[in-house]
Symmetry: C2
Subunit: 254 residues, 2 copies
């Protein structure tokens, strides 16, 4: 399987601390050696760093861990491939443009009987079930909303509804964002935590690293982290239910 | 204006030498301080590194210069903005998926009277004339070829024909690739050079750097570099004519 990491924040925030924990699972404390990727939104634009190499050995991962890119919406993924070989085009996250907005997505799980997913407008570049499901989701959204609706929250609710159909085909945990909203959809393994004042300290599970959020934040900051498994050992993470979706904006549940 | 850099090669080759020269023009030997980007194809996949910071100051550019990513098709761009502010979404290259292929493009120049360019399938995320022109090109290609044709060379010839329409609107120098073919289209400033055996030495114009290609290559390598202005001072670069297009595949003219 794979591991997901996402962030939604009300001020541009770096994800170096959480990403450091995730990276360890990419070949050190976890078996996810088949590539990794991370997408940062800055304004309407986004940029993705990805590598088919294990994250614990990747030069590019070292840069991303050390260089604090500040963003309000981030999606990251480390891969342990099942469907589709290890190569750049099969490396998450995937991004497509819809109505002049960049939509980014990453998936954890495995689908079966997905032959009925036949997207026409968006086509997968690689051969993973994950990218096929993403293209299908976007096709459905484009069909329902040929032009950009004013109510983007309704679009995200519709995507969560579509995700139920994918969950019927296997394990479908996913993160999806347009840079403003971040949707988390759970089949069996997804957790989240919202950090806000009063901030405390947290200790990573996978690396010897403690952060004192009080030193890194202002009293108005709200930062939500979403992850397949909790990344810290001294905080309370919410475990999502099967079929549950949560939509965040600026760190808060919508 | 901006500067373009492209590569087409018959074996995966790193572009570190040429990129080192280009980067200097991003704030040191040239005025192109409004961001930079580079897209590498590896198989069907591609990855882009981009930064709205000047390339001569960018931590990410330092990584790309030092870390040899090997690719057969590369497009890079450093920006001196005219239309559209300096921000991530206005930073070239731009990539869109068409028929399950990643198409990447960068533009040098400035267009006027482009109000008649009204793409519908593909929409710009930022507000540059460049990205608008790219979306228009892809819309036209999609209109003519609703599904992927077997003859991709014909598609690239069609794109070169469409580019004449854009040249009527101002300065339109561009590079466009699907990872296999690399198209160079010139209005007023584009040069290329093909390096093959017997290889010699070359000296960068913008940095104190000499490379002996004989030590870096095999006798079968063919590597074409395309650039706004020649990057080396001791080699003969072909200057393209206004309205001329050249299509490369595996380093060779098609």
């Amino acid at each position: 399987m794979c591991e997901l990491l996402g962030m939604s924040a009300n001020v541009p925030t770096d994800i170096c601390f959480s990403f450091s924990g995730l990276l360890e699972r990419g070949g050190n404390t976890g078996p996810h050696r088949d590539g990794w990727g991370i997408t940062f939104y800055e304004g309407k634009g986004c940029r993705t760093f990805k590598d088919p190499l294990p994250s614990c050995e990747s030069e590019i991962a070292k840069l991303v861990r050390a260089y604090p890119i500040k963003s309000c919406s981030v999606i990251s993924h480390i891969r342990q491939g099942n469907r589709g070989r290890t190569c750049l085009e099969n490396t998450h996250p995937f991004t497509r443009e819809l109505w002049g907005r960049e939509i980014t997505y990453a998936h954890n799980g495995q689908l079966s009987d997905y032959q009925d997913l036949k997207p026409e407008f968006y086509r997968p570049v690689g051969n993973t079930d994950s990218e096929l499901a993403f293209c299908w989701l976007l096709d459905k959204v484009r069909e329902k909303y040929p032009s950009k609706p004013s109510n983007m929250l309704a679009v995200f609710r519709y995507i969560a509804k579509l995700a139920h159909h994918l969950r019927e085909k296997g394990v479908f945990n996913m993160l999806l964002t347009d840079g403003v909203y971040v949707l988390a959809y759970c089949t069996n393994n997804l957790h989240w935590i919202t950090r806000k004042a009063p901030f405390g300290k947290a200790t990573l599970i996978d690396a010897d690293l403690i952060v004192d959020f009080q030193k890194e934040t202002t009293p108005h900051d709200v930062v939500t982290i979403i992850a397949t498994r909790p990344l810290t050992k001294d905080e309370h993470w919410h475990k999502m239910e099967s079929g549950e979706s949560v939509i965040f904006k600026l760190g808060e549940i919508q």
